[in-house]
Symmetry: C2
């Protein structure tokens, strides 16, 4: 059963390893747990629904609780406190495009607001209902999760928009294919959600971002369905896929997605390499990207993330041995862990590995084989579960991410980390901050920063801590040539910063499109574009 | 000096080889040249300009003649006949973004129409002025052709929009870089034009289409400049680069382009391989793309294009010898020539070549080394010059292109070729039609079809032949899951077919954007979007 107030399946627990709490306590002080609310107490607080009955919509309280919040840290705090704020008045479960069209028509007749809902994994407030005089319906696409068609020759799969990661991959795998899109939220997040929020997966180096994988589909709008045909490429004017990609439910409801798939690769492996210091590590990964070494995955942890990972890995004896070996090979204090993957035919993976090893050696890299890579692969979707254990231990953890050009990567990383490290200084609170690069490109890289801090004495004060941290980092990002999001989207949490990135003219163009498709602002109002924008 | 009534530099002549005319005569009858008009006679027909004097605008007749037409076949016919139709009232030569903004303001004050003009190489009627009660100014960006900044670390170059292919590459080469964008029009076409019309270069397999290379820039609009910052990737809502890519001058004037560049490769080579027949050839190139063999260029001629190329290559003795050898190796009648390139480090190119040869061998490919590849590389920008010699010999030649998914490539190719072959049957005229695939993708391929036909007794009747051919093929394309253009854009010639591809809702969205940026329809009206669309 899925957790109602946190990440993932209740049966899955990722323990904080012995020593992990000590490591954090030494860094930012001992943990301070806050009490969790019970589901019963939350259900008791759900107000009466304002909806008239409709066969596709349920107004059951638990459904409304389970669709009220995503997985951002403020969502987390609200769920743990039991103070959810606004609940949707009901949840719709369409099973077809026809159902979606009926719901759009119903929304017009009944003056409703609709929030398209995929896996509910947003970490930027995409699917949270806002207080409204109009009743709000969360439109869950979870029943539209099937592989509808597979063109094996063109390697195009047609899916329902609500298929989550495992549903996408298992249906494709049965036919010998993969989408290759593996965001950390993969267990729960959905194809439609990936498209609507411009997601990127851990193996984007090989398979591309969702922008590349999304070949076409159907967007149900108040003006009728917008069908986007599939072409391998086209020069016929602006690409209408951009009306769907990153639209975050503002222009329409995605009822069908066609994606570019690949045959399952013959071979795949992940490796760990330690670089002696950050400057050399940075140069090494930039070279890997710019020299087009055909890797499928790459993640470079900075020194503090490397240290944190090793401290939280458990097995202190084995780690000490590893560190001794690394020190002897020239990767001591300040070392940075690079994890990379190769995927493809036997020949391709062997060639890629050889090229990568050769290049990394020139930067002082110490190759450690597949052990750490396998460890990464095994834990690749488990990090969100760790949030639960950290929370129980009295620590709040959040992540944020951006991307910038290579000439700015190091400077932006330092500024973002600094802004977070000192954001709670006025209260005398320390923050544990570390970063990795992933999704590297010839032009630059994404930066993914994790910050751990202690809850305050109350939920309200903890939320205020988060607000100060998030605001400090977000401002730093947009004022220093970073995008407000490389892979999480805009939602409500990043919307205030979008103007800085898109400019007034760009925002006005997006508003013009929103007004064109949804003049009554019935679709997810407040996400992506704020009222005051333009 | 650039030809005023055809392609390229007057000093460059690509002779039709001995036997070439015979080959065509046997196919479609002997050539029928039409008389060419003189420049003097055309200059005499240029009407008085309706413009008031402006320091950035010239109203000289020859400037107006040289900016009135592109390089489509109807443009060609108009220029050769000397019946140009509408001339711009003047040509502006801005030297800065500031100049462009002045011209936009002037256009508003004086109620002018502006046509942004790059290299004038459009083959779809992008830059042809339409008859209008408002005076028309062609806004040539040729003086804004400089490399303004190179961020070597991020591999981002900032250019003036008017830099043509040789200007782009020579300025980058001096610093050790390349853009890697080589459309056939490369000698004359410009960076801004590539962006505005979604161009694709011959080595897009390695460097990507212009959509990938275009990282950001500035669009000068009537509502002010839209500055698009560079990010390696972003999830922050719809990508505003799409307001520039494929905008064909409708939303604004590009005043600055930032592109992703690459270090000059250590090694590059092109090879020729003959596949025994079309079905196997098709499967082979699909496998190369879908198995991600890292080639930099690929072109597969169908049997008739292969035959035509060999016939027009000259050297009949050597060709006969080659054909004998190929026949002995299993590639006789019906054989298809595949040209491919590898680019990169020594190790990468060796690996890629090995993978490609191995794969092609499995499909019966006969490898012939670098001779035909070198021949292709040497002639890669010369095909447009051949049009001049064919015209002198009494043949009209035109090309058109589309792209479609692999499962439809063969069927669409046959339908397009058939529609062209029989389009003039009512007059008893034959048409010589052949096709190659290039720009292959995992999902599908572009199809590039060449058709040769004889001019009729008059220019008007010849234009009518072209119209019938173009219409037959264009309808076939959009009715059979092809895009109306993979690399030439929409302009005026393809605009009538765009609705079929984008749908009424998509067209309405584009119209809403055009109305947003240019409510008075001053910018290139009639290109991309027709009056009646939406």
């Amino acid at each position: 059963m899925r957790r109602w107030n946190g990440w993932g399946d209740e049966a899955t627990v990722v323990e904080l390893p012995a020593g992990g709490a000590d490591f954090l306590a030494a860094r930012i002080g001992s943990g301070r747990p806050l009490p969790d609310a019970s589901l019963e107490s939350v259900l008791a607080r759900v107000p009466a629904s304002r909806l008239e009955a409709h066969p596709l919509i349920t107004t059951r309280a638990e459904d409304r609780v389970r669709h009220a919040r995503g997985q951002s840290l403020p969502d987390w705090l609200a769920m743990r406190e039991g103070d959810f704020g606004v609940f949707p008045d009901g949840v719709a479960y369409p099973e077809s495009a026809e159902d979606i069209r009926k719901l759009l028509a119903w929304a017009e007749r009944q003056d409703l607001v609709l929030i398209p809902y995929g896996g509910g994994t947003s970490v930027a407030g995409h699917i949270n209902p806002e207080a409204s005089t109009r009743p709000v319906v969360s439109l869950s696409l979870e029943r539209m999760n099937r592989l509808l068609e597979l063109d094996e020759e063109s390697q195009i799969a047609r899916f329902g928009p609500g298929a989550n990661g495992p549903q996408v991959e298992s249906q494709l795998r049965a036919r010998g294919f993969t989408l290759g899109h593996f965001p950390q939220s993969w267990e729960l997040s959905t194809l439609g959600g990936w498209v609507a929020s411009r997601s990127s997966g851990q193996q984007s180096l090989r398979y591309g971002r969702i922008e590349h994988l999304f070949a076409g589909g159907i967007l149900e709008t108040f003006a009728g369905p917008l069908e986007i045909p599939t072409f391998p490429a086209s020069a016929a004017g602006p690409d209408l896929r951009e009306l769907v990609l990153g639209s975050e439910g503002r222009f329409g409801v995605i009822s069908e997605v066609r994606v570019r798939v690949s045959r399952l690769a013959e071979r795949e492996a992940f490796y760990g390499v330690f670089l002696p210091d950050w400057p050399r590590a940075l140069q090494a990964v930039r070279s890997l990207a710019q020299e087009r070494v055909p890797l499928s995955m790459l993640r470079l942890s900075n020194a503090l993330e490397t240290e944190t990972q090793l401290a939280l890995a458990g097995h202190p004896g084995r780690i000490a041995l590893l560190e001794k070996y690394l020190g002897w090979r020239g990767a001591g204090a300040g070392k940075c862990l690079l994890t990379f993957g190769v995927t493809g035919s036997r020949v391709q993976t062997a060639n890629a590995l050889k090229q990568a090893r050769q290049l990394l050696k020139a930067f002082g890299g110490v190759f450690t084989g597949t052990l750490l890579g396998a460890k990464w692969a095994e834990g690749r979707f488990r990090f969100p579960y760790l949030r639960e254990s950290l929370w129980q231990a009295g620590y709040a953890v959040d992540t944020l991410e951006t991307a910038t050009d290579w000439s700015n990567v190091d400077a932006l990383l330092r500024k973002v980390e600094r802004s977070l490290s000192y954001a709670l200084a006025a209260e005398g609170e320390r923050v544990h901050v570390f970063t990795h690069l992933s999704h590297v490109y010839g032009e630059g890289s994404s930066l993914y920063t994790t910050y751990v801090f202690r809850p305050a004495a109350s939920y309200a004060a903890t939320h205020e801590r988060w607000r100060r941290l998030k605001q400090a980092a977000s401002r730093t990002i947009v004022e220093n040539r970073g995008t407000i999001s490389h892979q999480h989207g805009v939602g409500r949490d990043h919307a205030p910063y979008l103007l800085r990135e898109k400019g007034p003219l760009g925002m006005a163009a997006l508003q013009a499109l929103a007004a064109h498709f949804d003049p009554q602002r019935r679709l997810n109002p407040g996400a992506l574009l704020q009222d005051g924008d333009a």
